[in-house]
Amino acid sequence: MMPTTATVTLPEQLVVINVGLELFADTLREQQQTVTHVQWEPPAQGDAELLDMLDALL
């Protein structure tokens, strides 16, 4: 039996908020789509030493 594939039809006017990796936003912009990008990274980029300092200072 062949696997089924779902087809998703996107609306003509996309409203996109991209969080984190900006590459995805750039790709959509290249296709003339309006994207609002929100910069996000793990706290202190996951650095244990900085996280300990933040616990003490913030």
Binding site: R29, T34, T36, H37, V38, Q39, W40, E41, P42, P43, A44, Q45, D47, E49, L50, M53, L54, A56, L57, L58
Partner: protein
């Protein structure tokens, strides 16, 4: 809350009281030698942080040599280089002399300076006057005979005309100009046409009072009217004057200076005094003014002008200046998102700087190194793009490097924990 966290909270509250309570006024225009602390006839200042001569970017090297030629300190470029290497010409960052310089920030003894006094704390800060518009200026690290003639005209004609008018005015309130200009579409870094217009309006009567119908006045007015970005330097000096009282404030994690020398980006933090925390400067993303120019021609992030972002202007309030989005192919939603992002790394908001497009929300102000490291959100800066060999080639935006803030946080923890 721990004792340490409580002390930090109190110190940051005090830092923001000093910054937001500052009253910067333009009170004089005078040659750098007369007013800038520590200035000497053979000193040439540049945008911070400090950097050795052989590591400097092209715009700095060309600009410093140009200033040495203009001042008559050196006979030619080779002679200027020899004098620099022998220490006969002293090179230092503007910030180390209570000054700020846009672009390469080249400031020498005869440079006419805007003198801004923070009347709340009694301190003064300085910035060279703008050379006007154009791609080839000393501030962009270009020097030739015509540029030299223009600098001499500014020193001999425009500077004294401005001096007389500013003195006759009794001082010009820069904070008031910023507040109005932001409501008129300036973010006060890449766009200052509204603030420049408001400055000229404040100066009009004293110009006429002090100089009447002299030919020097007419020449000066012609120049000022054509210089859309003239008042950026006044705003920069005001920002420096506002931040200086917070420098050295124990336990405060608020950033008191950000600056770039085309190689490194540096920050200073209130609770860590005058120490710079540096990391490689990022490349500026934006619009190149000619098709033949691209990233391969550009020097990394350059200039002291991000002192405006340090008080919550420029890239921090992109939502106030939709036209600036054209440089980065942006849009209003992104501009608002960027301002909301900057709110996350700041201590508070500034009700003297309200953003109409965000229901008159106050501008984010007081960059907290802890919040920058925690969120991973680096300050966003609107800025110019400079050619490796000198010259303005574009405009856009850039992020401060995160490593500066991580280093500062480690130093802060080492000192106070």
């Amino acid at each position: 809350m721990s004792v340490l966290k409580e002390k930090i909270a109190q110190a940051n509250f005090q830092a923001l009281e000093l910054i937001l309570g500052a009253q910067p006024r333009l009170v004089d225009v005078a040659p750098a030698l007369e007013v800038v602390p520590g200035m000497t006839p053979n000193t040439i200042l540049h945008s911070a942080p400090a950097i050795e001569w052989d590591r400097m970017c092209g715009p700095h090297r060309n600009g410093i040599i140009g200033a040495a030629l203009w001042e008559g300190i050196a006979d030619d470029a080779a002679h200027a280089e020899q004098m620099i290497e022998r220490g006969e010409i002293i090179i230092a960052p503007c910030h180390h002399h209570d000054s700020v310089g846009a672009g390469a920030g080249i400031t020498s003894a005869s440079t006419p300076m805007l003198v801004v006094e923070n009347t709340s704390a009694g301190n003064r800060a300085f910035s060279c006057i703008s050379e006007g518009g154009g791609l080839r200026l000393l501030k962009w690290g270009v020097y030739d005979e015509d540029i030299g003639k223009h600098l001499s005209w500014q020193a001999q004609v425009l500077g004294p005309v401005l001096r007389d008018a500013v003195r006759a005015s009794g001082g010009i309130d820069i904070k008031g100009i910023i507040s109005k200009a932001v409501q008129m579409g300036d973010e006060c870094h890449n766009r200052t046409i509204a603030s420049t217009s408001l400055f000229l309006r404040a100066l009009l009567e004293p110009l006429l009072e002090s100089r009447g119908d002299s030919p020097e006045l007419l020449e000066s007015v012609r120049f000022l009217v054509a210089a859309d970005q003239f008042f950026l330097h006044g705003i920069m000096a005001a920002a420096k004057a506002m931040l200086m009282p917070a420098a050295g404030l124990e336990y405060s994690t608020v950033v008191t200076a950000m600056a770039r020398n085309g190689v490194e980006f540096g920050i200073q933090v209130a609770g860590l005094g005058d120490q710079w925390f540096t990391a490689p400067a990022n490349n500026v993303e934006g619009l190149f003014f000619r098709s033949e120019w691209g990233h391969e021609h550009a020097v990394p992030d350059l200039g002291d002008s991000c002192i405006t972002e340090t008080i919550g202007l420029g890239g921090f309030i992109q939502a106030a200046a939709p036209t600036v989005q054209q440089y980065v192919q942006g849009n209003m939603q992104q501009a608002i998102a960027n301002t909301l992002e900057m709110q996350q790394i700041c201590v508070t908001s500034n009700n003297d700087v309200q953003i109409p497009a965000m229901d008159f929300a106050g501008a984010p102000v007081g960059i907290d190194i802890r919040k920058v490291v925690q969120t991973g959100i680096a300050p966003l800066i609107d800025t110019a793009i400079t050619h490796k060999q000198g010259g303005l080639i574009g405009a856009g935006q850039v992020r401060a490097p995160m490593a500066c803030f991580e280093q500062a946080l480690k130093a802060f923890a080492g000192r106070y924990q």
